[in-house]
């Protein structure tokens, strides 16, 4: 088998969409035998690429030892950080990329952007690239095939947490020989980084909103439930039906009428309007995005359906519900409060989407049979959602992948759906007993599911009657009177501790001022400065040990964001560095005192709403 055949085989197995497109390109034959690219034998018996662009010759590798050159080149990069994303311009013959690939850890990624189809084809013909092709941590982008996906892949790989773990590099000489393309590559990365910073700034700004929402929603703790309250309430032989809003829902939605009263129907928020249009009332509505405006639930009938939501949801959305609010996945301060009265709020892997979250809920509640409806996780032609709705792909901005559909053919999916698909498959594989039926009647093949039509699955599994409405009506709220009182007392203690935190933060400001004064004169440590540093450490330990600190931490996220974005600013002067550190610390204490003032009033109101 030739090197090209071997490489194409690897592509076919590991990157089928890429393979098919490259195959069509190779048929055109215009990229082979290009005179501008030469393969030169090197002194150590390997070979190097030489490229002539506009009469200028570029040796893309060492003519002595290209492998050693690549090793020494790669030594400049630090791979100690977590979740590293390496964005590399230029594949060349693979030597440099390989050295990077060998240094990647499990969670790291290597994005290789190759601007030249001619060079890529030449590399495929003369070098064994199968190790790079088959490595799942390597994302290969060829300008002519999937180059436009670079910005989408960056969005997927790079986030706030690993923004500063990025390594941006280029194959030697590629920056000169493909200057325009290189400039665009760098601009794309810069734009993505800026987008993340802006986004994080927005998120940090909304953290105050989320704290505020949570406190406002404390009023519902008197009458709400948490998901774990439903454990044991529904007979396990009753099936759960998760209704998502994929395009196939249009095909079989009418069948669900036969399932009502013989199953528990969980509708994701986007699917509710289609159900109500067909006069099918789900047993639960599931909505998980705390920032979402619930225009999907504008039908007044929604107000009488139990709502599964997060406690950080917009207060006005919960206010409309007359039936029962069931909180899902309480975290942070609220979870801590519930634990004081022995409530297990559960640990759910929401999987990133409402449908995966609903699956997680059904798994926790112990359903033996879970039936998926409208879970296409793929395009139906151009249609993305039920009702013939098309969400523009370019707007969605997702890397496209090709997967197998339920008939064994190829079908296109978005990269985020692809991730949910893999999530489902992994979650299903972990189910100890029970089965998952895919009754979508379309879309991607979800491995581990049994394929049935919705009609067949209803006939087989929806045999026993159940009155979910009665179960909910008879379900007592999560907190008894006594437990509610304990929570009230816990909040009263937290209010007291907020005042103590403010006092300590003010002490911290005072100590920082004294240290700044001292270090301005001399950076030499004295017994007094060391003692002050110890005091600061004790203050920090005190503040962070308080339960209510978690609310402060959330609240000051916007303020600390700007400090963290300066974290990698290195001033080449020890005194300036020291002064900068203590100014930063002082500002943090100031933020804490302001946060205490904000939180005190809303926590006090939350306490009143519980009484």
């Amino acid at each position: 088998m030739s090197l090209l055949e071997n490489n194409m085989k690897a592509l076919e197995i590991h990157r089928s969409a890429f393979f098919h497109k490259l195959k069509s390109i190779l048929k055109e034959d215009k990229y082979r035998n290009k005179d501008g690219i030469q393969v030169i034998e090197t002194k150590d018996g390997n070979s190097a690429f030489s490229l002539t662009v506009e009469e200028h010759k570029y040796n893309l590798n060492s003519l002595y030892s290209p492998v050693m050159e690549a090793k020494r080149w790669s030594n400049q990069f630090d791979f100690k950080n977590l979740n590293i994303v390496v964005s590399m311009f230029g594949l060349g013959n693979g030597y440099f990329a390989r050295e990077i690939m060998l240094k990647l850890k499990k969670e790291d990624f290597l994005l290789i952007y190759e601007p030249s189809t001619e060079l890529f084809v030449k590399a495929m013909e003369h070098y064994d690239l199968s190790d790079l092709i088959s490595n799942e941590k390597v994302i290969l982008l060829l300008d002519e095939i999937n180059g436009t996906e670079f910005k989408n892949v960056l969005k997927w790989c790079v986030n706030w947490l690993n923004l500063n773990s990025q390594i941006i590099c280029h194959h030697p000489q590629y920056d000169l020989s493909f200057k325009n393309s290189y400039d665009l590559f760098m601009k794309t990365i810069k734009d993505n980084n800026n987008g993340i910073l802006v986004n994080e700034n927005t998120n940090a700004a909304t953290s105050k909103l989320i704290t505020g929402n949570t406190m406002k929603n404390f009023r519902y703790l008197k009458s709400c439930n948490i998901i774990t309250d439903l454990i044991g309430k529904i007979p396990p032989e009753i099936p759960a039906i998760i209704v998502a809003a994929g395009p196939s829902l249009d095909k079989n939605i009418h069948e669900l009428k036969e399932a009502k009263g013989k199953s528990v129907i969980f509708a994701v928020d986007t699917a509710v309007k289609y159900l109500l249009k067909n006069d099918i009332i789900p047993d639960f509505i599931v909505t998980l995005d705390p920032k979402k405006s619930l225009h999907h639930l504008s039908d007044p009938r929604c107000n009488d359906i139990p709502l599964i939501s997060r406690i950080e949801a917009r207060a006005e959305n919960l206010k409309r519900n007359n039936k029962r609010i069931i909180f899902f996945n309480m975290e942070g301060y609220t979870a801590m409060l519930m634990h004081t009265v022995g409530k297990d709020t559960g640990r759910f892997q929401s999987g990133g989407s409402v449908a995966t979250g609903a699956f997680s809920i059904c798994k926790t509640l112990g359903f033996r049979t879970i039936i998926l409806v409208g879970c296409d996780l793929a395009y139906s032609g151009k249609i993305t959602h039920a009702g013939g709705k098309i969400v523009d792909v370019s707007e969605a901005g997702r890397y496209l992948e090709t997967v197998e559909d339920i008939y064994g053919n190829e079908i296109k999916t978005r990269y985020d759906w692809f991730i949910y698909l893999k999530w489902f498959e992994e979650a299903i594989a972990l189910l100890k007993d029970g089965e998952v039926i895919d009754a979508t009647e379309g879309g991607a093949r979800i491995k581990g599911t049994k394929l049935m039509t919705l009609k067949e699955s209803i006939e087989k599994y929806c045999l026993k009657e159940i009155d979910v409405d009665k179960i909910i009506t008879e379900l007592p709220p999560v907190l008894s009177e006594e437990e509610l009182e304990k929570i009230q007392k816990a909040i009263e203690l937290d209010l007291k501790e907020l005042k103590e935190i403010r006092e300590k933060a003010n002490q911290g400001i005072d100590i920082c001022n004294r240290l700044l004064n001292k270090y301005n004169k001399s950076i030499q440590e004295t017994e007094s400065s060391m003692e002050k540093n110890r005091q600061l450490s004790q203050i920090n330990t005190f503040i962070e040990s308080k339960r209510v600190y978690i609310l402060i931490d959330w609240d000051i996220a916007q303020d600390t964001f700007s400090f963290i974005s300066d974290l990698y600013v290195y001033v080449d002067n020890e005194k300036a560095n020291k002064l900068y550190t203590y100014e930063k610390a002082k500002n943090l204490y100031v933020s804490i005192t302001k946060a205490v003032d904000r939180i005190y009033s809303i926590l006090e109101e939350a306490l009143l709403s519980l009484k």
Binding site: N59, N61, S62, L63, E69, W73, Q76, P172
Partner: protein, 101 residues
């Protein structure tokens, strides 16, 4: 003689460092060090030229001159990888061979 060997070893280390910088496309830093290293090589050539014994005179100055010329050509073409290769595989190699002078 120890002094000569010390000089040679020092130059070899510097050339290795320079080559590493050039392979890593840190040309500016590489050239700063190269400036110093070339000065030391010139001094070395001067010292070797004045050596009296036959063994000492076995150092091939013509070969070194030739490689320095090649290095200069690489610099003119701004081919930093070629420059690194010459420093690493030609000049440093010759100096390593000569450490038993």
């Amino acid at each position: 003689m120890n002094d000569l060997q010390n000089r040679i070893n020092e130059i070899i280390k510097e050339l290795d460092k320079i080559a590493e910088l050039l392979y890593q496309q840190k040309a500016k830093e590489g050239y700063v060090l190269l400036n110093g290293a070339l000065g030391k090589i010139m001094t070395l050539m001067d010292v070797i030229g004045r050596l009296k014994t036959e063994r000492e005179n076995s150092f091939d100055l013509d070969r070194l001159n030739h490689n320095l010329k090649a290095a200069l050509e690489a610099m003119e073409k701004q081919d930093n990888v070629m420059l690194a290769d010459i420093l690493n595989y030609e000049i440093a190699e010759q100096l390593k061979e000569s450490t038993n002078l």
